[in-house]
């Protein structure tokens, strides 16, 4: 009984921490973008402007939660919650430290891939239910992008799986105790990183919500907290991809002994979140056909080649 209660508290704490991190990222991103653009960003509310997020949240809760008359009401309401649910579920497999983590699934990576595929429904349904041509265009772009990048996102991870011999995230972390997988699996890392950006639809792959072409893409018609869910979901997505890169390629919680494992994990994760923000600060958005041809013509063959070479080397080393 006490064991179960402890577990429930742990899961709730992880969820709360993740949502708080995602909300804090809104502030972090604005500050870091400002830093890279020689500005200050929000620095008025609270120390260094941290409470800006609180102010924004209060504002967004009090906004009119408007559903357009032409929208498909039920789907319109459900869509924003899907993105939050799938991404929060994906976090279940992430081992934050040897003792912190929700489940120890033996199919961890597959569970993540399944959940991120379900996340595409959020974009599609939001755009479809909005009954707005820009939303629909954004949703179509989003679904095409997410489905095609899903393919080699999974394939790029197979190199890691081959080297570990397991889909279990904890096994993968422990297999990196000698050398992080980013060195033997550098190609896989690059491909996963690019696919991760596309999966979280962040710049330079944010064409589903390209604000200069499609108003706001699939969430054009959303307001109030429904829009807030998409917004927080996007930052949760960044956190998820960063956490996965940390786990799969950069040794997860592994680090030197003077800091506890969870700190190492968070340091690496925030490093990748900062890279995400830096990419937004520096790169322009791709055109849609460029995105597609990059995905299918370059990254897919590259990831297949990566699996082939990794498998060959692993077989050779095992049979020698």
């Amino acid at each position: 009984m006490i064991e179960n209660l402890k577990y429930v508290v742990l899961v709730l704490a992880i969820m709360l921490a993740l949502v708080l991190i995602a909300a804090g990222l809104i502030w972090l991103e604005r500050r870091m973008l400002a830093l890279w653009q020689d500005r200050y960003g929000p620095n008025r509310v609270g120390p260094f402007g941290v409470l800006q997020v609180t102010a924004d949240m209060i504002k967004i809760f009090f906004k009119e939660d408007w559903i357009p008359r032409f929208a498909d009401k039920k789907v319109f309401v459900v869509a924003p919650s899907i993105v939050m649910i799938t991404i929060l579920l994906s976090f279940a497999i992430v081992p934050f430290s040897p003792s912190i983590g929700v489940v120890n699934l033996n199919i961890g990576i597959l569970f993540f891939l399944a959940m991120s595929s379900l996340g595409a429904y959020s974009v599609v349904l939001a755009g479809w239910a909005s009954n707005n041509k820009y939303s629909l265009l954004g949703a179509m772009r989003g679904s095409a992008q997410m489905i095609s990048y899903e393919v080699f996102m999974g394939l790029s991870l197979m190199g890691v799986v081959i080297m570990t011999g397991s889909f279990n995230m904890r096994d993968i972390v422990l297999a990196q105790s000698r050398v992080w997988f980013v060195i033997p699996q550098f190609v896989g890392f690059v491909i996963f990183f690019i696919a991760g950006i596309a999966e979280a639809h962040r710049l330079p792959f944010d064409i589903p919500e390209a604000e200069s072409e499609l108003v706001a893409g699939y969430h054009s018609e959303y307001s109030g907290m429904k829009f807030g869910m998409f917004f927080v979901g996007e930052y949760l997505g960044i956190t998820l991809i960063s956490a996965l890169i940390t786990t799969l390629f950069f040794g997860g919680w592994l680090g030197f002994h003077f800091l506890p494992p969870i700190v190492w994990f968070l340091v690496k994760m925030f490093g990748f979140i900062l890279v995400f923000i830096l990419l937004r600060a520096s790169l322009p958005r791709l055109r849609y056909d460029q995105l597609m041809s990059l995905g299918w013509k370059v990254l897919l063959p590259l990831s297949l080649l990566n699996i082939l070479v990794t498998g060959a080397i692993v077989l050779y080393l095992n049979n020698r």
């Binding site: 830093l35 890279w36 653009q37 020689d38 500005r39 200050y40 830096l278 990419l279 600060a281 520096s282 790169l283």
Partner: protein
Amino acid sequence: MFSNLRSIWIVFLHMFHKRETVLYPEEKPYLPPRWRGRIVLTRDPEGEERCVGCYLCAAVCPVDCISLQATEDEHGRRYPEMFRINFSRCIFCGLCEDACPTDAIQLIPDFEMGEYHRQNLVYEKEDLLIDGQGKVQGYNFYKVAGIDVGVKAKGQGANEDKPVDIKKLMP
């Protein structure tokens, strides 16, 4: 590909650049003396109003934000009995300052006029009139004008000849 990485690196280096933002309320920007900001009505060196109520400023104002009503005192000196500027319309173009024949209306380096109610942006004469001479020091229109309105006797002004005695033949 290389140029993408290079631009990422260049943006990253901006971390160590100086920030351009002026943190306004703590750090006031430098406003040059000819800054076109809040409009004031100035006084001449004797402390009298410079405005003669000629309506030129109201006529030239492209957004019609100035309205006034001229009147005369017992010496026949014109002054505005009402002078009103609606700063919610004013575009701070400075044409009224250019048009003013007596340098009475002037734009000064001050822009901190924010209000919560639009009506508070309508400035009446007592809000506009200041005690000083503004940007034009030592200038008194009636000292150089030919008309006698109690400031000086006829022919007593600066650079002014004695009035011609029309009853005499000699120049």
